[in-house]
Amino acid sequence: MTIERDWSKTWTSAAAAIHGAVSYTDKKHFTLTEVMGFTGHAFRMNIDPESINAAGPTSFPGGYILRRNLCNLGFTSCLADPPAPLTPDKVERTISLVQQSLDRGVPAIAFDLFTPEFGLIYGYDDDKQQFYAKDHAKDGTLTYAQFADPKIDLLFVTTISESLPHSKYETLRMALSMIVDHARGKEWTHVFGDKFAQGLAGYGAWINVMKLRRADEHGNAFNISVIADAREFAARFLRELAFRWDGSNVVERTVRKHAGDAAVHYEAVAVAFGQLRELFPFPDGGQPKDPVTADRAIELLQQAQEAETKGVEQLEQLFHFMKEYYSEIWVN
């Protein structure tokens, strides 16, 4: 099964920003599909168990996840996340971090530039005291003072420092580690604690909200759009893996098998979410509190849950297998 769509855009702004920044480095060959897959963003699900709030998809410890993401792709990185109220010293050091990255020719990843999503700062001008920035809402400027006055309770910036040689084994193994940890609810959540249901547990939380007819129209539709988009990338990413790992050694054969099997399951997840998306179009979100509609949503969520559970099992097996192999070229 092939999904026809624009593969250069995603609803997951973190992956879009990482892909955007990486495309200024020596690893510009990474496609958005690969970034979505190797960072694990194609496989995420973070559900607010009260009302499926729209904050779910971005409510993760950004510094931790983004730097791990960059590490998977073979980069060392820097982080600024000073809490508000900001001190002049922290503001200066954060601005300086952005400028150093730009001087190296790579945009800085920031949060809540024009909208509460991840975006990129791609230029600075000291004379005008302003940054040039872009996120999915806007391409424009913001002054250093505006940048230093965040609406969220911290000032967030991640920058790429060095690009390291990374074997494809390592990249895949690290990606699988993140994907499996997230699916099984083992990912570190920092300040968010257990406020959100992570990975496969998200389905149970979601179905429960639907049963209680408590889904927020806007939030429900937003979560569906983000996850539908992500799982389409997941399926495509796994198909590509199965296609590209075409060697004859046991590792290549095993990747091919598990990735191929998992792809089928993730395609089924994507199909179910596609139907949910039609039921609850963003931004209006349809009628998630209407009993008939909510029950239909529960059926689709159960289908997706079943398929994703099987998909995760495949990836888990692949992860445990991959942990044992390190060689870049293996003739056997």
């Binding site: 200024y24 002049p88 300086s96 975006g119 000291d126 003072a145 230093a148």
Partner: protein, 255 residues
């Protein structure tokens, strides 16, 4: 205290010859002219020092008092309604400073930051002594830090007047307070420079104590933003002086 009254009187009567010039200087200083203020300082510093010295019997403490008094004078010049009253006004500030110092234990109290003990903010007298420990989110400490810095410069520098007027420090305080509207500024200054408790400020401004707290809290937020804005300007200037790149704009990303 009769001695004091006499001394003050003698000082008030002196300097009558250049009255017109004096008034002009005060007017210019009031409109923000730093040079004019510098000239006023040069003219009156010695006498102010004499007054402070006679009150405290301690030359170093007198020095501190005059520096602090001048900072206050500079900050409050706009509130002086009659420019002829500059000298008595300055001397009143010096006396107030001196009494407060003496109340704090004479020469041994000279290290006390005036903003901290006057603000009744509950801050320990030594908080913020260490440069690294300045809590920039606490306006009491910011003001303390700035004035303390100015006093240090004045004490250690070759040319105290010049250091006292070091623009970056005084301007910082001045600019910080300038971001407030008239009423916020009056209430803020009453609290932080006029050492009044909120209940008294409420009486003074014919408002409620709750309102005073709200205004103070709003003022703190504004001052915090202003402080960041100023520090960004200084940061950009510093980069320029180090010859760092001024501008770098990459191709807009495809996101």
């Amino acid at each position: 205290m009769d001695v004091l009254a006499l001394e003050t009187a003698s000082m008030l009567s002196s300097g009558g010859g250049a009255e017109g010039q004096e008034r002009e200087l005060v007017e210019r200083a009031r409109s923000g002219d730093q040079e004019a203020f510098g000239e006023l300082v040069r003219r009156h510093r010695a006498k102010a020092l004499g007054l402070a010295g006679s009150l405290t019997k301690d030359v170093y403490l007198a020095e501190d008092i005059v520096q602090e008094a001048l900072i206050r004078a500079f900050l409050h010049l706009g509130t002086l309604t009659d420019s002829n009253r500059f000298i008595p006004w300055l001397h009143r500030i010096v006396r107030n400073q001196a009494y407060m110092k003496l109340r704090r234990g004479g020469p041994h109290g000279k290290e006390r930051p005036f903003v901290c003990f006057m603000s009744q903010s509950g801050l320990p007298a030594d908080s913020g002594r260490n440069e690294q420990a300045v809590d920039w989110s606490d306006i009491d400490c910011i003001l303390f830090h700035l004035t303390d810095h100015a006093a240090d410069e004045a004490r250690n520098g070759q040319n105290p007047e010049q250091y006292l007027l070091r623009q970056e420090v005084l301007q910082s305080i001045h600019m910080l307070i300038r971001c407030l509207n008239k009423r916020e500024r009056d209430i803020f200054e009453a609290r932080f420079f006029g050492e009044l408790p909120p209940a008294e400020i409420a009486d003074l401004f014919d408002t409620t104590t709750a309102n005073v707290y709200n205004t103070l809290s709003r003022s703190r937020v504004k001052l915090q933003k202003e402080r960041i804005r100023i520090s960004i300007s200084l940061y950009v200037q510093r980069r320029a002086s180090l010859g760092l790149p001024r501008r770098r704009i990459l191709t807009p990303p495809l996101i």
